[in-house]
């Protein structure tokens, strides 16, 4: 197989005396969904934050598209093609669904943003925004302000925003959190679709979704990788069952 798109090598990060990320290594290859699972407080979000560039690691390195990005800022990494959703939906609350998407598209344009031509009547932006909105089945909610959306809808808007970025890799931190069973089923289909756009590093607690979607699973416990393998072998792994799956739905 060719070089992974994204690779994390020996990443460590502590908060005071507490080691939240302990020599973690993992990679993300073209076309795959790589799930990252583990109990609460295992350090999953901490890892995602370091990959996204929001949190500096104490040691270790991150390579993306063949380049060492460990010291690069969040925005620079995003521009290279790293798109992420947050554990708590992160959209622009006072913007409508459509404005949020126009924002996502405008953010990707090269150079300093224009100060003169109107963004909301620029068809280069609005056409793309409307297309993504329609694709996610949000067309009828297009004019609603994000803060007034239902939780599951806001999640979808956030997914729509990262889709609009046309990234080279997706980092999704618990996209199913708190959206209900019906929402989860829909979201699972949506994520299965994302794989065709770019590979996905998926943090998720919903084991049904994880085992349906993932090509590979990495298990994190207390900041450390205890297993990384195919879904079948992870399901059979005794350590994993003890540490995590045992009290899960499987």
């Amino acid at each position: 197989m060719d070089d992974p798109l994204l690779s994390v090598h020996d990443l460590s990060r502590s908060f005071g005396a507490f080691l939240a990320c302990d020599r973690v290594s993992l990679d993300l290859r073209a076309g795959e969904i790589h799930a990252l699972i583990g109990p609460n407080g295992a350090g999953k979000s901490t890892l995602i934050k370091q990959i996204a560039g929001e949190l500096a690691p104490d040691s270790g390195s991150i390579r993306f598209l063949g380049r060492d990005v460990t010291r690069l800022g969040t925005a620079r990494r995003a521009r290279m093609g790293l798109a992420r959703t947050f554990q708590v939906s992160s959209v622009v609350p006072e913007f409508t669904v459509r404005e949020n998407l126009v924002l996502a598209l405008a953010s990707g344009q090269a150079g300093f943003p224009g100060v003169w031509s109107r963004a909301m009547t620029d068809s280069a932006l609005t056409d793309g925004a409307d297309a993504v909105v329609a694709r996610l089945g949000l067309a009828h909610r297009s004019g609603i302000v994000a803060s007034e959306l239902a939780h599951a809808e806001r999640r979808k808007v956030e997914i729509a925003m990262v889709l609009a970025q046309r990234p080279k890799a997706f980092l999704l931190d618990e996209p199913m959190a708190g959206i209900g069973t019906e929402g989860s089923a829909e979201m699972t289909d949506l994520l299965a679709d994302l794989r065709h756009e770019a590979p996905v590093l998926l943090v998720e607690h919903d084991m049904d979704a994880v085992f349906r979607l993932a090509d590979r699973i990495t298990v994190l416990v207390s900041g450390r990788v205890i297993a990384s393998d195919t879904p079948e072998r992870i399901r059979a792994n005794a350590d994993v069952r003890r540490a995590y799956l045992g009290d899960g739905p499987h």
């Binding site: 622009v92 913007f95 405008a106 953010s107 963004a119 909301m120």
Partner: protein, 327 residues
Amino acid sequence: MNRETLANTVILAALAGIPVLAHLGGEPFVITLATRIAILGLAGVGLNLALGHGGLVSFGHAAFFGVGGYAMGVLASHAQAWTPLATWPVEIPGTNLMPVIWLTAILAAGLLSLVIAALSLRTRGVYFIMITLAFAQMAYYFAISWPAYGGEDGLSIYVRNRFPGLNTLDPIQFFAVCFTLLCLTLALMSRITGSRFGLLLQATRQNPARVEALGVQTYRIRLFAFVLSAMVTGLAGALYADLNRFVSPSMMSWQMSGELIVIVILGGVGRALGPVAGAGLYVLLENQLGGISDHWQIFLGAVLLWVVLFARGGVLGMLCDRRSADG
């Protein structure tokens, strides 16, 4: 026409119409009040870009207001005394031409704000408020201890500066100049806030982490907004000095920064014409209550408290619906 557009039209029509009536009725004092409103409104429109759209609570905009004022004072005083401003490397004369003074004021405020913003924008929240205040205080004390231009006493300019083709000493003509600049700036602001930059600025105020994750360095967005904002306030400062034919360090005082914030809040934070409505209310209160008591600012404080507690959108927020998502 929605309610805010209607309110905006009424505000501008009133601001333009009242001085015209006052001119016909021979009431120059009313024209001066309206000019004050236009100028303070313009300063507030500048601050509103940073404070309202960008969420950058600058407690130091008096520095830019004052720099605009001193740009006028310095240039005009040299023109008045027939002495050059500088002799090396080229001789730079003073000037009493308004357009040149305005440009200088805008550039000087822009440069100063670039330095202040580059440092202040590394902080957030209350630290940002404090550091902008600290920079403005530095500018204030610098002006006080600069004897060449009047020091503490300030600088008087005996004749109002010139604008080609106009008699600027005629109150209504000077008002027309200020009002025109206000309208041009409002049109410019409307383009800017509706542009891609404007969209990013508002998004940055509400959710900077999301904007960074979308690939935009929010620091640059904030920096640009702050500098633009200061430039507009600097222009207003030059006009204000010309209105009074006087500039002094008090234009840079923290009270002045506070007045500008009050004007923006009174009118409605983040609303296009909020600062104009706010300036109108402020000047009227000052004028009415100031006649009754020297401590009129106590009443102003009460009004302000009321706005902050019960009318979050300011005067315009009360007149119109809740904030329209103007993206």
